[in-house]
């Protein structure tokens, strides 16, 4: 396949994934918008005023970056895991497997589709947040790098889940029992500096803490853990998952008999 053909193949897969997001927008875009609106209403209007400032910022302003990040990572993950597994379940994944698309291109197409949904939902949640708190930006570059890399990491992780999943339950187990707890314990709603030392140390093992922290630093300029360290963790995870996904698709693990 020549480079131009590969580019067309990539755009085709990306277009199909993005088309799916908009075709079933009530399942892909709306739920996060509603959930995050509820968070903003409850923590912003109902009880937010009763909570003291966090590192010089109102509580609602403090949680906005974390909530946006939560929406980005859960949607990136869910898009790829459910779409890829759905294609496996319907056997339409064979359309890709019989095509001359190299494995890395298949991974790139699905990952870009997951990132697209994550970033679209992130933009929607950001827009909703403006009704509750004015936008503050400390460093655009940090915001962009962290949100793009985080959506890439979780898209690649969702693909890994989709590859290994044998039934629909397998697609929901990881988000329910791994992703959600790690996200809630990843400093979305609190600063880890408020925790006892031992829990601070344990929290540092949670990669989502670094993603939320870096993203929050981009908006508010405050940080609980080193931002550069978080960036290194993100890049390492991204490359590691990329290599693993390409290897699994190349070998046809759970895809070919």
């Amino acid at each position: 396949m020549r480079a131009a053909q590969q580019w067309r193949a990539f755009l085709t897969l990306l277009g199909k994934e993005v088309g799916r997001v908009f075709r079933i927008w009530t399942q892909t875009l709306l739920p996060s918008a509603i959930t995050m609106t509820l968070y903003f209403v409850i923590f912003g209007s109902f009880i937010g005023d009763r909570i003291q400032d966090m590192q010089g910022h109102s509580y609602v302003a403090f949680i906005v970056p974390g909530l946006i990040m939560m929406a980005v990572l859960t949607n990136s993950y869910a898009n790829v895991s459910s779409s890829f597994f759905g294609n496996k379940f319907q056997k339409s994944i064979e359309e890709l497997l019989v095509s001359p698309m190299p494995s890395w291109l298949i991974v790139a197409g699905y990952t870009a589709g997951g990132m697209a949904r994550g970033l679209i939902v992130g933009a929607i949640v950001t827009a909703i947040s403006l009704f509750f708190v004015p936008l503050q930006v400390h460093a655009w570059s940090v915001i962009v790098v962290f949100v793009v890399l985080t959506s890439a990491v979780f898209s690649l992780a969702g693909l890994l889940n989709g590859i290994y999943a044998r039934k629909f339950d397998d697609v929901s187990i990881v988000p329910t029992f791994v992703l959600t707890p790690l996200t809630y314990l990843g400093g979305v709603f609190y600063s880890v500096t408020l925790l006892p030392l031992v829990w601070q140390q344990i929290s540092r093992l949670n990669p989502i803490l670094y993603m939320v922290n870096g993203f929050r630093y981009g908006f508010l300029g405050i940080s609980d853990v080193p931002v550069a360290g978080g960036l290194m963790i993100l890049i390492t995870l991204c490359l590691g998952l990329l290599v693993l996904d390409v290897y699994l698709i190349e070998k046809g693990v759970r895809l070919k008999s």
Binding site: M1, R2, A4, Q5, Q6, R8, A9, L11, T12, L13, G15, K16, R23, N87, Q90, K91, S92, E94, E95, L96, L97, V98, S99, P100, M101, P102, K251, G252, K256, S257
Partner: protein, 320 residues
């Protein structure tokens, strides 16, 4: 030009064992020439779909060689040459017919504008143009089969692999599909067909391989293969009433009903003797047809229990 250069598909000592120890292919070898209409026949579980899966890159081979126009099966080059019509429907049922085709073309790197034109041509030829905006799930069984064919042809493959393409399709649709595929073959596309409709294979295919239990039992020219039929049974429609006694029917004939006889003749033995005998008894033959098609007869003989015993006994395989 060497034989290798003319081969669309070359399979050499191909083996595949599935997890659990099920041997699907036990060292099969055969080749399909460029431009051929080739039948790969066998009972359920014989290894046909595994072979086609390996050729198209959907199944990982155990060992051996499979080359498509000289390229290793599963490689980017080989995949570019192959169009696969699978046994099961494997398109996204929520996508629209036209989108399924255009997306498939996109995966092969074709420009969208060209893909739209190609999909229009194929959908019109296959009678699906009116359904181009319908979701896959809203198509009838026959239409879904046609859609699979159209999808496989979007990138103009040199080798079309058809794995039971007419399963569950009505006679009229089947006929139109075969007309279309025959036209493709005449235009130069190499076709490999797996089907349980043996009369179709007999009519359409030039060469044949019969596979059972992962081994090739026959790999030969269709005409030569059909000549190996030892005995054939004919059904004769008789104008007069026939009686089931020696005076009322020729020797060796079996009375099916008052106006129907069945006669079995050995290879090389003409029907003239039978007709003369009937004429002497004052019986007029209104029609005559083979009871079973020859390929079916040979196929059942080879893959049925008797065939297996015979193969074990002699160890011979029919080979051109």
């Amino acid at each position: 030009m060497s034989e290798t250069a003319e081969a669309a598909l070359e399979i050499t000592d191909l083996r595949k064992t599935y997890p659990g120890g099920v041997v699907a292919l036990d060292g099969i070898s055969f080749s399909v020439l460029k431009g051929d209409f080739f039948a790969l026949l066998g009972p359920n579980g014989a290894g046909k779909s595994t072979t086609m899966g390996i050729v198209s890159g959907l199944v990982v081979r155990g060992s051996g060689l499979a080359r498509v126009f000289g390229h290793d099966a599963g490689s980017v080059e080989a995949k570019s040459c192959i169009g696969l019509v699978p046994q099961e429907f494997n398109f996204s049922i929520f996508e629209k017919v036209e989108d399924i085709l255009v997306q498939q073309a996109g995966y092969f790197g074709m420009p969208r504008r060209y893909a739209l034109g190609r999909s229009e041509t194929l959908l019109k030829k296959l009678g699906l143009w009116e359904k181009r905006h319908a979701q896959g799930l809203k198509l009838s069984g026959g239409m879904k089969r046609k859609l699979l064919i159209a999808r496989a042809l979007m990138h103009e493959p040199r080798l079309l692999v058809l794995d039971e393409p007419t399963a569950g399709v009505d006679v009229e649709t089947r006929r139109s599909m075969w007309e279309f595929i025959t036209t493709l073959n005449k235009a130069g596309t190499t076709i490999i067909l797996s089907t349980h409709y043996l009369e179709e294979a007999e009519q359409l295919c030039k060469n044949i391989a019969i596979i059972d239990n992962g081994t090739i039992l026959a790999d030969t020219n269709m005409r030569d293969f059909l000549r190996t039929v030892a005995r054939e049974t004919y059904v004769l429609d008789i104008e007069q009433k026939v009686t089931d006694d020696a005076s009322g029917r020729p020797s060796g004939a079996v009375v099916v009903d008052e106006h129907t006889l069945e006669v079995t003749v050995a290879k090389g033995e003409g029907l003239n003797t039978i007709f003369k005998s009937l004429d002497k008894k004052g019986l007029t033959v209104l029609g005559c047809r083979a009871k079973q098609n020859r390929l079916e007869q040979l196929f059942v003989g080879m893959t049925g229990e008797n065939g297996k015993e015979a193969k074990t006994g002699s160890g011979d395989k029919v080979s051109a």
